[in-house]
Amino acid sequence: MDSRNLYNEILTEHNMRPYYKHELEDADLVLEGVNPNCGDDIWLKLKLDGDVITDGAFVGDGCAISQASADIMLGLVIGRTKSEAIRLIDMFTRMIKGEAGEEEIEELEEASALKDISHMPARVKCAVLGWHTLEEMIGDKGGDES
């Protein structure tokens, strides 16, 4: 349970200067995600062109982990198709459970900065909040989840 490195540079950067934390006019999809126990609360907003996520943003309130994780996620999925995004969400979820392989973690790019969360059960919910919210928004139409 050593978490000395939890607040690493990637995470603190995305927390202090989130790139996607802003309003998004004319979003096609909007959904609130909440962790009632700890009070993390985000509104995720997406623009779609057919199956492709063309833009995204979030607003909200919560701990550094929930906020940075949502920001990192948007950077990763914007420009991808819904089914690609679903695949990444799945990978991320498995990384958080400590079940993802090396290459998978690599494919998650900056999101791999959150991999130590797998040793911190109390913070898992914060890390996955954005991802689960995204999954709810696009999941049912996401197609080939394999």
Partner: protein, 412 residues
């Protein structure tokens, strides 16, 4: 154990009474959530099981008689400790939450009507708020929230507005679990009684820090948990004036609380047994009485002094730390060991996480007091809470760790 006389024991002597504390690994500053337990309390519970374990109340053999005696002696011990007139005024429960629910269900639902008001302070712990929301909803009565100022104090005007001729009950905490401030219970009970209203005092946070005297407070009901008072989990108490308890119907029903049962109904035992359905937690009550004996041997003089010294040290240092904001009164003496704070741009959960990395144990969140958080216009806060066994060293570890939080989150 050092063989010196009482009250010349040093902080280190006292720390050695607590296994987790003596190890010095964690700086345990989450005492308002639950206290650590001295060896004598843990041993008392063990002793119950190895020396007199039997179901109390109904057996004629020596073990059962001893278990019964241990349990009823514990009741007398609690009664003496808080100044009750007689042991029958003490009902053993699981925790303060259950004590309050018992009053809400048994007294509240049967005595409060649609035209009545229940006055509840906005700074209550959820455990002293939700049961009254339930009663208000079930009876149609109005919940009248008493609003505090940002330092946690109440203006006379506010008290006079909230406690009036329609008030049937005032539910108020003795010490707030967020602000640490002691509420003016004597004044409130006097006001309430002048309107014929009753007062339930939540002593969960006060009883570990100050002598409770239900007569001086004027409390009609008083609730607390053992686990915050050095006792094991799973035991708590409700004080109720005997005449009130006698008039109340039972709450939970079952074994041990009846006089006789027929297929068409039952007659109930006398108070307090009427309220103690099923096999009691005799071992827990016995251990609670040992905890009280330990507290008495330490003495509230000493406890208050330690609270004052350590709280002042922490508050002074935090005040000098940039970007830290302390909630509640300016005066450390008003905090009863509770120091709630925020750090600019840092979520309280991240504060607590960083401190955990330094093995400093504090709590962060809404502290089961969401309405107070809203009233104070914050979502959550971090809270350190001190007990007499804490050391200057632990407070220093806390201060240093807090001072490092912003840097470690990148706000260099």
């Amino acid at each position: 154990m050092s063989a010196e006389n009482t009250n010349v024991r040093t902080n280190e002597d006292i720390r050695n009474d607590f296994v987790l504390i003596a190890q010095n690994e964690y700086a345990y500053l989450d005492n308002a959530a639950t206290s650590q337990k001295p060896v004598c309390v843990i041993e008392a519970e063990k002793r119950f099981y190895t020396d007199m374990n039997a179901n109390p109340m109904r057996g004629f053999y020596p073990l059962s008689l001893e278990a019964t005696k241990a349990y009823e002696d514990a009741r007398s011990c609690v009664a003496n400790f808080i100044g009750a007139s007689c042991p029958e005024e003490i009902v053993f429960t699981r925790n303060a939450t259950e004590s309050i629910n018992l009053v809400a269900y048994s007294w509240g639902l049967n005595n409060i009507r649609a035209c009545d008001e229940i006055a509840v302070s906005v700074s209550e712990h959820h455990s002293n708020m939700l049961p009254w929301q339930m009663v208000a909803k079930a009876t149609g009565a109005k919940l009248n929230y008493i609003e505090c100022k940002s330092d946690g104090s109440y203006s006379d005007e506010e008290l006079e507005r909230a406690i009036n001729s329609r008030t049937k009950l005032v539910a108020i905490t003795h010490v707030s679990n967020v602000l640490g401030r002691r509420n003016p219970i004597e004044k409130i009970t006097e006001m309430a009684h002048s309107f014929g209203a009753l007062v339930l005092v939540d002593a969960s946070q006060s009883i570990p820090h100050m002598k409770i005297d239900v007569q001086k407070l004027g409390a009609d009901f008083l609730a607390f948990s053992g686990h915050k008072l050095l006792a094991p989990m799973g035991i708590g108490a409700l004080y109720g004036r005997k005449s009130l308890l006698e008039d109340m119907p039972p709450f939970l029903t079952g074994g041990e609380m009846i006089e006789s049962v027929r297929l068409d109904g039952a007659t109930y035992a006398e108070v307090p047994h009427k309220f103690e359905a099923g096999t009691v937690n005799a071992a827990g009550a016995y251990a609670l009485s040992e905890a009280i004996r330990y507290i008495n041997s330490i003495g509230y003089e000493y406890i208050k002094e330690r609270d004052r010294v350590l709280t002042a040290k922490a508050i002074e240092a935090l005040r000098k730390t940039e970007h830290v904001r302390i909630l509640g009164s300016e005066d450390p003496y008003d905090h009863n060991g509770i120091i709630s704070f925020t750090i600019d741009n840092v979520h309280p959960h991240d504060i607590s996480e960083v401190l955990a990395q330094d093995k400093v144990c504090i709590r962060a969140g809404h502290h089961c007091a969401q309405p107070l958080m809203e009233h104070l216009k914050i979502g959550s806060c971090a809270r350190a809470s001190i007990m007499f066994y804490n050391s200057e060293d632990e407070v220093e570890r806390f201060i240093e760790s807090v001072a490092s939080v912003r840097r470690r989150l990148g706000w260099a």
